[in-house]
């Protein structure tokens, strides 16, 4: 048993540590901002944009509606690609399940195709489909497809056969087994892959916009760079970062609600 005195000491120590941690993080954040400002003073406005100027620019863009316009172009391509890639990536493993022999025959080709950096296809897609939304949608979809495919595949493989047997034994129909056991079994894997895929989908759309576009966040950043508008580059990147981190936070929230039944799981999240 711990005496009340030692318990009190332990509580005080942990409170002290929390305080130190908070102070340390604040100090580090302040140092980063200060470093940014110092770099601006040292390097000059060609290389750095001061934090305040970036904020002002963002407010301007929001005010004249350009931010919303660019954002909606980017999000359109991203959401369409994300949906397509998720649907394909989740459906293919289910189809492959029908034939294990085909799965094994196709496997090395799927693996090999993953080796090609997806973005190298952009010039080809522009050649084929022009500079509209389509190439961006395809790139985003391909990016998402592989991640979801592998995640769903792993989830399917991890389905516990004993649960399926149990469900059949108590009288569950085939569709019931699919809905209850397979769907719930795959769900954590699907979430893990969606969480991984969402930021990548966004950056895929944006990088595709670097390469070809006449609107969108990526276009805004790259266009600013080409016009040596450093503040514009910074403002665009801040916007992208906020978007990615925001999307990630939203997905995490949704996941926590949908997977309440899971014990805390570190295995599926490399970073937590």
């Amino acid at each position: 048993m711990t005496s009340p005195a030692t318990a009190g000491r332990a509580a005080a120590a942990s409170a002290r540590r929390r305080r130190q941690l908070l102070l340390g993080r604040l100090a580090l954040a302040a140092a980063l901002l200060l470093g940014w400002d110092l770099l601006f003073r040292y390097l000059g406005p060609v290389y750095m944009a001061p934090p305040l100027a970036v904020l002002v620019r963002l407010a301007e863009l929001a005010g004249n509606g350009q931010l919303l316009a660019d954002l909606s172009v980017t999000l359109q391509a991203c959401i369409a690609g994300f949906a397509l890639g998720t649907a394909g990536g989740a459906a293919l493993p289910l189809l492959l399940r029908l034939s294990p022999r085909l799965t094994r025959a196709v496997e090395p080709y799927v693996m090999a195709s993953m080796g090609v950096p997806v973005f190298t296809l952009v010039p080809l897609l522009i050649l084929w489909f022009g500079i509209d939304l389509l190439p961006k949608i395809i790139i985003t979809a391909v990016m998402v497809f592989y991640i979801v495919f592998v995640g769903t595949f792993a989830g399917l493989r991890a389905i516990d056969g004993r649960l399926v047997a149990m469900a059949r034994l108590v009288g569950a129909s085939g569709t019931r087994v699919a809905r209850e056991i397979y769907w719930n079994g795959i769900l954590p894997y699907l979430f893990a892959s969606l969480k991984l895929a969402l930021p990548r989908a966004l950056s895929a759309t944006i990088v595709a916009e670097f390469l070809v576009a006449d609107a969108g966040l990526g276009f805004y950043i790259e266009n600013s760079r080409q016009q040596a508008d450093t503040v514009g580059v910074f403002a665009g990147i801040v916007m992208v970062v906020a978007l990615v981190l925001g999307a990630d936070a939203l997905l995490k929230l949704w996941e926590r609600r949908a997977l309440r039944w899971r014990p805390v799981d570190r295995q599926l999240n490399p970073v937590s």
Partner: protein, 272 residues
């Protein structure tokens, strides 16, 4: 053999007639290996039969045949005089239209359902989730002392609680025959004897026919009306011995009951 109490006017609830199960061995090509061969016995309604045998004696295979998650390669299995399984039939009917419940070694609880929802799962898939079913589930939850844990997920329950949940999940839809495959194997001695007592109480209340596989001689004697002793592979019935200990039994002091020690000795010698 197997002149059990099933011989009488009404047909036995369950009858195995010369049942065999073989597997093709891949090493040798066409040669088959018999796991079970020439196995026959009868079980009367309301009887509690334990099955005991050396490890690797195809005990689980035997239960799988009765529950029809597997089909026999020889002989036939009769339920109340009607043949439910014989070689040549192709379609499995796991659980024989809810006539047979099966409590497996693993609890096989669905991790994404709360304790109560796990218990209700069979009723749900059978389309019988009504007021009466819910009431019965509540009664069973109460009978095994799980009240207050209805909303807990399986990972939040102890091993003994999970076992109880799996047990009442089978009782809730009222199958007349229940198979149990070393259900209490992985539990500590204390929990185990509690669960044994729970089981006997539920059995005397509900009037089920129970086939209970175990490798623990004391458990086999403590629970059963009759013990079937299996021979080493290929498995058949080596002996059929009634347990002359009167009910209700005091499981705590079953060791002191007249005849227990002698029976224990006989059976242990048989399975060695």
């Amino acid at each position: 053999m197997a002149e059990g109490p099933g011989d009488g006017a009404e047909p036995p609830v369950l009858e195995m007639r010369d049942v065999g199960r073989c597997f093709a061995s891949r090493d040798t090509g066409d040669a088959v290996q018999w796991v079970i061969r020439h196995l026959s016995f009868k079980v009367a309604a309301g009887e509690f039969v334990t099955i005991i045998g050396p490890s690797g004696a195809g005990k689980s295979t035997l239960l799988n045949l009765i529950a029809q998650t597997d089909l026999p390669s020889a002989g036939e299995i009769l339920l109340r005089g009607t043949c439910i399984a014989a070689p040549g039939r192709r379609r499995l009917n796991p659980g024989v239209d809810r006539q047979i419940g099966y409590v497996t070694q693993d609890d096989n609880l669905l991790p994404w359902r709360s304790m109560l929802d796990n218990v209700l799962f069979p009723l749900e898939v059978q389309g019988r989730l009504d007021e009466e079913g819910r009431r019965r589930a509540a009664t069973l939850v109460d009978a095994v002392g799980l009240t207050g844990f209805e909303r807990h997920y399986p990972h939040e329950l102890s091993g003994g609680m999970r076992k109880r949940c799996a047990l009442i999940r089978t009782l809730v839809y009222d199958p007349p025959i229940i198979l149990m495959d070393e259900p209490f194997g992985a539990l500590d001695a204390q929990t185990r004897s509690q669960l044994q007592a729970d089981l006997l109480r539920l059995w005397s209340m509900a009037g089920k026919t129970i086939l209970f596989v175990t490798h623990d001689v004391a458990e086999a004697i403590a629970l059963a009306d009759r013990i079937l002793i299996l021979s080493r592979s290929p498995t058949a019935i080596a002996a059929d011995c009634p347990v002359p200990i009167p009910r209700p039994r005091d499981l705590q002091n079953i060791y002191a009951v007249d005849g227990f020690a002698a029976l224990h000795d006989t059976i242990r010698r048989q399975i060695q």
